[in-house]
Symmetry: C2
Subunit: 205 residues, 2 copies
């Protein structure tokens, strides 16, 4: 029996959440280790890239949750077996990861510097990214990102879009997604209502 | 017959180069479209994420070269069919992509701001990343990143390491890789000598 331990911050979002959802929906038991920012300062020296998420499998630490989602997705039917559908799934996951990098760049800024960086982020990155992703959803038929089958691309998008809609990112309007790419907001609502996703949040301690 | 057109800057490096090498080695014909920075300014509005690389397949534009490398890698034997080997390949490719994001963040800075950002980049990111990647190579047996078979992970690492060793990135010492992770420098030399890679550069116009 493989032991899986996923370490991340104590938030129902961010880079670990798609993998948490995938493991839960796929029925793979794992330890959901949640650390505080203080813990992170003490522990990061032990992590392979001095960052979280970290996934330990039988005691060995691995990185890159998109890669882990792909690996566990293949085991649980949440990653397409067809190579082109796999490409479409990957393009979505990697585009979201790209966008997260651009968002993280603006963390730690303050006052006017934060305002300017966030406005540039919205105009130069988030708006084109949201439009492209909405187009991909449309090309896939409008329901899920790889067609009729629910996949990890839907989980990745759901977590990211919910974060954008939370209003917690200063100067990123909570209605940005609804105004620029309403089909992505509808998609996130669809994923939230998926029995595996809804069941997970209903039973979170 | 599928028509593939890869658009990127006119450099034998960066984000397009692993895919160029993979397509060449895998025997997949493609148009290698190289644009100037001036062209980019005029054309970027047409690209899905306002960025390059862009891959057109039969006239439709797609993004994310790691995803494309995986797709074409599956067709050409340059991506592992075993899911765990696939994970190991993906972890390497995504870790390099992460590192590229951190490097790109320092572009456009000048003078003392550039010096400070590059020193922080080396200490906080590049050194731990290089050490982790050297450990992965060691765990895989020391020759190629997914074991005995040459894969797209080796191409991705090769292009990135050659860039770091070029000395073209100010304040990133050209001998950083050799001093922090000598096995990665040896790996890049090994890939450079691979018949497909050496043949490609010998015949580049």
């Amino acid at each position: 029996m493989t032991e899986v331990n996923l370490t991340y911050f104590d938030t129902d979002g961010g880079r670990a959440e798609p993998l948490r959802l995938l493991l839960h929906i796929g029925g793979i038991e794992f330890t959901d280790t949640r650390i505080s920012f203080t813990d992170f300062g003490k522990l990061r020296g032990n992590y392979p890239l001095k960052a979280v998420p970290v996934v330990e499998i039988d005691g060995v630490s691995y990185t890159q949750t998109n890669a882990m989602c792909r690996y566990f997705g293949k085991q649980t039917g949440l990653y397409p077996s067809d190579p082109w559908q796999g490409y479409l799934c990957d393009e979505i996951m990697e585009t979201v990861e790209d966008a997260i990098h651009f968002i993280v760049r603006t963390f730690g800024l303050k006052d006017d510097a934060l305002l300017q960086a966030r406005q540039k982020l919205v105009d130069d990155r988030l708006v084109p990214y949201l439009k492209m992703l909405a187009e991909r959803l449309d090309q896939a038929g409008g329901v899920y990102f790889t067609g009729t089958d629910f996949s990890v691309a839907d989980l990745k998008m759901f977590v990211w879009i919910q974060g954008l809609r939370s209003g917690k990112l200063e100067h990123i309007p909570a209605d940005l997604v609804a105004s620029v790419a309403p089909t992505l907001a509808e998609h996130a609502d669809r994923v939230a209502a998926h029995s595996g996703v809804a069941g997970y949040y209903a039973n979170r301690d």
